[in-house]
């Protein structure tokens, strides 16, 4: 009889050596081959059962099973993320890039305020929070797109549709809510919808027409839904609602990056080509600047006039 035992934790030659040692001393195992991720054993069914061999491997702390392990749990991924720094180099860079971009955006805005916007009466009370939320939006959506574009990998339709949908929806929701709160429903929806559709298409196009359409639909929906929230909630604790709303949006973007790694990168052949730090940060600053100008000087619904 022979059996394939899946052992996803084989990391190095020592693991192979240890398992080899165990199997060599197990009665009834006639032949075996230890490979990356699996052990193929030939055994005498009368002397030993496959389950016993699985147990033998488990005893040394390896995960082992006759059925394949298709993915890591969140805890295992977190452990892997902390321990295998080079494997997650792109993700680690991304986090540093995003945090730095966020700090740069705050700095540039502070400079713009001191040198320019402080002549506008009530600027801080009117725009303060929304500029912060704009920065969060630009950085988190930007990081998501940067992460997707860092890999040239084959993606399934399912993944492409998820990417198009997530990016389109979140970009529209977040940006729409921000611009909707400062300029009203019309400009908020235009900004949210156009940006949502554009980013949704960029994220989903990798899998062809399905992802592209999904991105467009989600951008349309998120981009009009975001400003609707701001406008309808404007006189009812909108500023209390926003931290929760933004936290959930950011969590969804983080979840998407987790999915990108899980579905597009892990165990697959990928070509890495991340955009460099300077390009990422300057893109964030330029995009944020465009929306700050729209928010401050763009057309506004009568209710929203400063």
């Amino acid at each position: 009889m022979d059996a394939t035992i899946y052992v996803p934790d084989i990391e190095c030659d020592s693991c192979v050596k240890l398992i080899t040692k165990r199997l060599e001393s197990q009665k009834g195992v006639t032949d075996f081959e230890v490979d990356e991720g699996a052990v193929i054993v030939e055994y005498d069914d009368a002397a030993v059962k496959a389950d016993a061999i699985v147990g033998l491997i488990r005893k040394d702390g390896f995960r082992a099973s006759l059925a394949p392990f298709d993915r890591k749990s969140l805890g295992e991924r977190w452990r892997d993320f902390r321990e295998n720094k080079s494997k997650y180099a792109i993700e680690r860079d991304g986090i540093v890039y995003a945090l730095s971009a966020f700090v740069f955006l705050l700095l540039v805005e502070a400079i713009a305020y001191v040198g320019f916007f402080d002549t506008i009466p009530g600027f801080l009370s009117h725009y303060g929070w929304w500029l912060l939320y704009l920065d969060i939006t630009v950085v988190s959506v930007g990081l998501g797109l940067w992460h997707i574009s860092a890999y040239r990998a084959r993606m399934t339709c399912m993944v492409g549709m998820m990417l198009g949908m997530t990016v389109g929806m979140q970009a529209g929701m977040m940006l729409g809510a921000v611009v909707g709160a400062t300029n009203g429903f019309f400009i908020g929806s235009m900004a949210g919808m156009l940006v949502g559709v554009f980013t949704g298409v960029v994220a989903g196009k990798g899998c062809g027409v399905m992802g592209t359409m999904q991105g467009m639909m989600a951008g349309l929906m998120g981009g009009t839904m975001g400003p609707m929230i701001s406008v309808m909630m404007f006189s009812d604790h909108l500023l209390w609602f926003m931290p929760f709303y933004m936290a959930i949006n950011v969590a969804i973007m983080a979840g998407m990056s987790y999915m990108v790694y899980e579905e597009m990168v892990e165990g697959k052949e990928v070509f890495r080509q991340p955009l460099d730090f300077l390009t990422f940060v300057s893109a964030c600053i330029i995009i944020a600047a465009v929306f700050v100008i729209i928010m401050v000087y763009g057309p506004k619904a009568p209710l929203f006039a400063v």
């Binding site: 990391e11 190095c12 020592s14 693991c15 050596k17 240890l18 040692k21 040394d60 702390g61």
Partner: protein
Amino acid sequence: MKKTLKVKGMHCRSCEMIIAEALEEAGAGSVAASHAKGEVTVDFGSLDEQRVRKIIKEEGYEVE
């Protein structure tokens, strides 16, 4: 006699187990290997330090 040796080349739990087993099979008392610290603490038992170093080296690790 107990001694802690600096051992290079351990990178996971399997390495620790291989070293510990090799030493225990040869006659050492308790062995605690840590790949995180790069250290192996050995109770020499019936072995001497020379022999312990040799066994670890034979398993493919470097002892300082």
